[in-house]
């Protein structure tokens, strides 16, 4: 979506905000301007990369103003060239094609195989490609903030990120989340 249409969407939300948001009972007092969603994305695996971007893009479509704060392993989700993996290790809930002992799951090459299978399954089921979903978030006006402290901790350079990513710290997050209607830690 273009900048223009996005600002049109923002303008539109002011008129709909008067309707009490579903489930807003007991929430913060009615506010001026668009509803806000604040997300902290802290995980860097292929499966956990989806929730922040799915929720962010959907909320933006529902006229929310959205900010995602990427911290620790979540920074991987901002890489220009996404190379995210999935592992069944430490994740007994992952559906497996056949039962496999944990020792077997730890063998070299297993993670690459799991990742390949997961990507194939997602593609077959019509789940959106992650890079495409992320780009949609950017186009629709979702603000992406990378944690400066984690960058320093891991000696990472922000030049590895896609365009439009801002840097900030915990205080930056609170600046946005303070009056957010919904805040999520993922």
């Amino acid at each position: 979506m273009t900048e223009q249409s996005n600002s049109a969407a923002q303008g539109q939300s002011t008129s709909t905000v008067q309707q009490p948001a579903q489930g807003a009972q007991g929430g913060p007092a009615p506010q001026e301007g668009p509803k806000k969603l604040a997300i902290i994305a802290s995980k860097g695996s292929l499966d956990w990369a989806y929730p922040p971007f799915i929720l962010a893009s959907t909320a933006a479509s529902l006229d929310y103003e959205v900010e995602i704060f990427f911290t620790f392993y979540g920074l991987q989700l901002l890489d220009r060239d996404l190379d995210l993996q999935v592992s069944s290790l430490g994740n007994p809930g992952m559906p497996m094609p056949m039962p496999m002992p944990v020792m077997g799951q730890a063998l070299p090459g297993m993670q690459a195989m799991m990742t390949k299978m997961m990507k194939r399954k997602m593609s077959a089921k019509g789940v959106v490609d992650l890079a495409e979903l992320r780009q949609t978030c950017v186009d629709i006006g979702v603000k992406l903030v990378a944690c400066q402290m984690t960058l320093d901790l891991f000696d990472m350079d922000s030049s590895r990120f896609i365009d439009g990513v801002e840097l900030g710290g915990a205080a930056t997050f609170f600046g946005f989340a303070e009056d957010a209607n919904i805040s999520l830690f993922i």
Partner: protein, 77 residues
Amino acid sequence: MAEYNQELDATGLNCPLPILKAKKTLASMSSGEVLYVTATDPGSVKDFESFSQQTGHELLEQKEEDGKYHFRLKCAG
């Protein structure tokens, strides 16, 4: 389905794509115009109800036919 101004084929797409694409299309439409969406994601039924409630784009009609879900949304501008 009754008349519409724009059509969106969201068949084969999964959450949240039908909503995202509908929103994108509606943003390019004028107030009062009608968008006709076809989807195959069963979750889209509840999602479009919720989308309509939250964005003000009125859900004029929804039905299931031939294993597909059909929606008509009136653009709120």
